[in-house]
């Protein structure tokens, strides 16, 4: 069981949506009392990021992470459209990741 999940948030420019979505994820995980590290990146870096358990992107990408971290589209946390459903999916994914040793 992992005690802490490593999340990367990435958008096209690494500015606006990343900043807002990072805050939203921090809020969600604090509320759920899940330990986390979270860091901002640019979408172009997604294939080569290492050490992430989960990558949340806010822009279009067809890239996958070479180190095998799952990639989720987190735009609902920015637009509010579908935010509840996304939050449920995000927590399910994180719990799945954390239950692995």
């Amino acid at each position: 069981m992992k005690s802490c999940v490593n999340i990367v948030v990435a958008c096209g420019g690494g500015i606006f949506t990343t900043t807002v979505v990072t805050e939203k994820i921090q809020e969600i995980l604090k509320k759920e009392k899940i330990g986390f590290n979270i860091s901002p990146h640019k979408i172009t870096e997604v294939p080569n990021i290492t050490g992430a358990d989960l990558i949340v992107v806010t822009g279009k990408t067809s890239e996958t992470n070479k180190a095998g971290a799952p990639v989720m589209l987190g735009l609902p946390l920015f637009t509010g459209v579908g935010a509840e459903e996304f939050t449920a999916q995000l927590l399910a994914k994180i719990r799945e990741i954390m239950s692995k040793s």
Partner: protein
């Protein structure tokens, strides 16, 4: 100051914009920003490049586009253009759906780590149907600026 706001002024607002394309709207707002010395000459080129690669159309409750970048930005600002005839933007989520928008918010951000609060404030506005619709309907630039002041409070620097 505990947080930084974004500069704007009446000159950064275009209502009834007759631009026909995403590129045209962005270019016009960039020219205005350069006249105010908010950005240098590379800003326009970089933000247009970025829009092509990572488009910013958002299918929010009221569809919007939010071009933004930090390259070439000298002081953090936002500008706004509204249209009667919607302008087509590509979607940020990479879907093939085009976003037909009547509002474009264009931002220059010098350092996002200082501007978290104001970016968050804007993200709340982007989820507020009533506010977005009021921005589209107010055709007088002074009145629109007043409305933005009211909604953004201290996050707007005039």
């Amino acid at each position: 100051m505990s947080f930084a706001g974004l500069k704007t002024c009446k000159s950064m607002i275009i209502t009834d914009c007759d631009a026909k394309s995403d590129t045209e709207v962005i270019a016009r707002l960039c020219d205005l920003a350069q006249e105010q010395n908010y950005v240098n000459e590379i800003f326009k080129e970089k933000i247009l490049e970025r829009e092509k690669e990572y488009p910013t159309g958002l299918a929010t409750v009221v569809p919007i586009a939010i071009p933004h970048i930090h390259d070439g930005c000298l002081s953090s600002f936002f500008s706004i253009a509204t249209f009667d005839t919607p302008v087509e933007f590509s979607a940020m989520d990479g879907s093939d759906e085009k976003v037909m928008t009547q509002i474009v918010f264009l931002f220059g951000i010098t350092d996002p780590s200082y501007q978290t609060a104001v970016l968050r404030k804007f993200s709340m506005i982007f989820q507020n149907e009533e506010m977005l619709n009021s921005y589209i309907s107010i055709k007088d630039r002074d009145l629109l600026l007043d409305k933005l002041k009211q909604d953004l409070e201290d996050y707007i620097i005039l």
